[in-house]
């Protein structure tokens, strides 16, 4: 094997690439809703605990495992897990680090295309909601359902030309064109441009939101300060007790941990892959912390000040408590932009959806690279062939999601399968592999090679005991509260069953490829042992 090894062009490049992977729709849409619904300001206590004891330690573990694997020429999760675990079981468990980004990409690229579609609409004509405020909510919902085909299955693939499908084709192709250019010329270059642009768009929207004042003098309570209060005032959960009692609820701590996971992109298989392109003497401790801090800036300082206050100022408590990421982004905020009037409504609407697109594309690119690296390694094929094969697999999966568009059932099921549980399983596997199998002392030594700051003294204890316990509790709670409902869904709903089948088929396909690549990796591992 003498093909040129991929590498990052600069330190800032990989930090922005990892941060770009982490900053996504969840920072601007999921975080504010989760925080406001789980104790408001009080939510930040479990949130920062999860960041310090779960998110950042796992991040460091992933960076270290990736860098170590890269020294042996491995860039994919199965190969790196096999190397660290010295057992084929670990290699097969590495399939989680592939299935997660591949499946997420199948529906994430669709959402990314909606963001582009909405941004384009605001640039040209805006979302038409009429002139009767009482009808805004209904019209906004109808527009979104029509745009994504949520009224009926197969609506988007009925042979007619749909603008949303055209945008999907464009965005899907753009992702593959960029990823084909490689780690440095593709991912790094895009993230180096997109991250500052995203920050500019976010600041434009933030300034407008914070200067809204009291838009309707007849409703003096609906002002920016109260909007910020709705987001940040500590409050009880589900209307009972005090905010201190909210902190005693496991649900709040699990919501915080889930948000940190989703937000930092830990347990996605992405960081391991990105870090595998580092050199032995490259720092991982400071780089990992900087990428996490950048993600937190977009989430807490920008996401936490934009969406909920904006929705509250125009729509009151009812608007600010919109359930779910999509409802807040695509059904509530367009009404807010309508209330802003012209030209601000269109300017802010464009800036907001373009910002979401930039957040999404830096994340979707990161979902492709682990699988491309794996295909190259497992089948010993070139980048062109691996990009084509991955394009075929993800294209078919994405078309599946587009076809089963009624109530976005397939999309939501994939999102909950991966987002609620599979990333937690992968994180648990990684933590055990890193701290118990590979050995935390050895791992810390590798992390410190070339490090510009030392890992905190508590890190070995946390990663060995606290993090696995936290993860096992999360898994246990999910099994207790959701497993039954999950199985029942698969048994009773044909679309859900077919979507679950899709995940199984892709998993089996990847396991076969791991078996094919495994023999060569094993030989190489022995060579380098």
């Amino acid at each position: 094997m003498t093909k040129p090894k991929e590498a990052w062009g600069s330190r800032i490049g990989i930090i922005l690439a990892v941060a770009g992977s982490a900053v996504g729709l969840g920072n601007f849409l999921r975080f504010p809703g989760t925080a406001a619904g789980n104790g408001g300001g009080a939510f930040m206590i479990p949130y920062f605990c999860a960041l310090l004891f779960l998110g950042i330690p796992i991040c460091w573990a992933e960076w270290t495992m990736g860098k170590h694997g890269g020294q042996f020429g491995f860039n994919s999760c199965p190969a790196i897990f096999g190397l660290l675990g010295r057992n084929k079981v670990w290699r097969y468990l590495g399939v989680l680090g592939l299935i997660i980004p591949i499946v997420i990409y199948m529906y994430y690229v669709l959402i990314e295309s909606w963001c582009v579609g909405y941004a384009f609409l605001y640039l040209t004509q805006g979302v038409e909601l009429g002139s009767e405020p009482a009808q805004f909510a209904q019209k906004c919902k109808e527009f979104f359902n029509g745009f994504v085909g949520a009224n009926q299955d197969g609506l988007m693939l009925d042979g007619k030309i749909h603008i949303s499908v055209l945008v999907w084709v464009t965005v899907f192709s753009l992702n593959f064109i960029l990823i084909y250019r490689g780690v440095s010329k593709g991912i790094e270059r895009v993230c180096t441009l997109a991250m500052p642009m995203m920050a500019i768009c976010a600041f434009i929207v933030l300034i407008r939101v914070l200067t809204l004042g009291t838009p309707d003098p007849a409703k003096p309570d609906l002002n920016v300060l109260n909007g910020l209060g709705f987001m940040w005032n500590p409050k009880p959960v589900d209307g009972g007790g005090s905010w201190v009692e909210a902190l005693a609820r496991p649900k709040v701590w699990m919501a915080a941990a889930g948000q940190i996971f989703f937000s930092l992109s830990v347990g996605f298989g992405v960081i391991i892959n990105y870090a595998s392109y580092l050199k032995r003497k490259d720092d991982v401790v400071l780089s990992g912390l900087t990428a996490s801090a950048t993600n937190e800036f977009f989430e807490v300082c920008l996401g936490g000040l934009i969406t909920i206050p904006a929705a509250f100022v125009f729509l009151g408590i009812a608007g600010a408590t919109a359930t779910g990421t999509f409802d807040l982004g695509f059904k509530t905020l367009p009404i807010v932009f309508q209330y802003m009037g012209q030209p601000w409504g269109r300017i802010v609407g464009f800036a907001f959806f373009f910002m979401l697109f930039l957040a999404a594309i830096t994340s979707s690119l990161s979902m492709l690279q682990p699988a491309i690296a794996f295909l190259e390694e497992a089948l010993n094929i070139g980048r062109k062939a691996s990009v084509a094969l991955l394009g075929l697999v993800t294209g078919m999966g994405s078309l599946f999601v587009i076809y089963f568009s009624k109530d976005l059932k397939a999309l939501f099921f994939l999102d909950s399968t991966i987002g609620d549980i599979t990333i937690v399983i992968l994180a648990a596997v990684q933590t055990v592999l890193f701290s118990w199998v590979f050995g935390v002392k050895r791992a810390v030594k590798i992390a410190h090679e070339g490090a510009e700051m030392h890992l905190p003294r508590f890190f070995p204890f946390v990663i060995k005991y606290v993090t696995p316990t936290y993860l096992l509790l999360m898994l246990g709670l999910w099994c207790y509260t959701d497993l039954g409902k999950y199985v029942n869904q698969i048994r009773t709903d044909n679309v859900i069953a077919a979507t679950f089948g899709l995940v199984i088929v892709v998993t089996v396909f990847l396991l076969v490829l791991i078996a094919i690549g495994g023999r060569r990796w094993q030989a190489e591992t022995k060579d380098f042992a």
Binding site: K5, I12, L228, K279, A293, E296, G304, E524, D527
Partner: protein, 50 residues
Amino acid sequence: MTTAGWIFMVCSISFVVLLLAFCFKKVLSKPSTAGHLHAPLDIDTHDRGT
């Protein structure tokens, strides 16, 4: 917006901003990091073990 709300908001944002500033200050202050380009001959010949 209550006093407690202000406290949570200001503390959360300050913590994140300070952490970000600390990290970027350290990253950008190292001369090797600003334009830390890898060697042009980044060819992995896999011949280390032979």
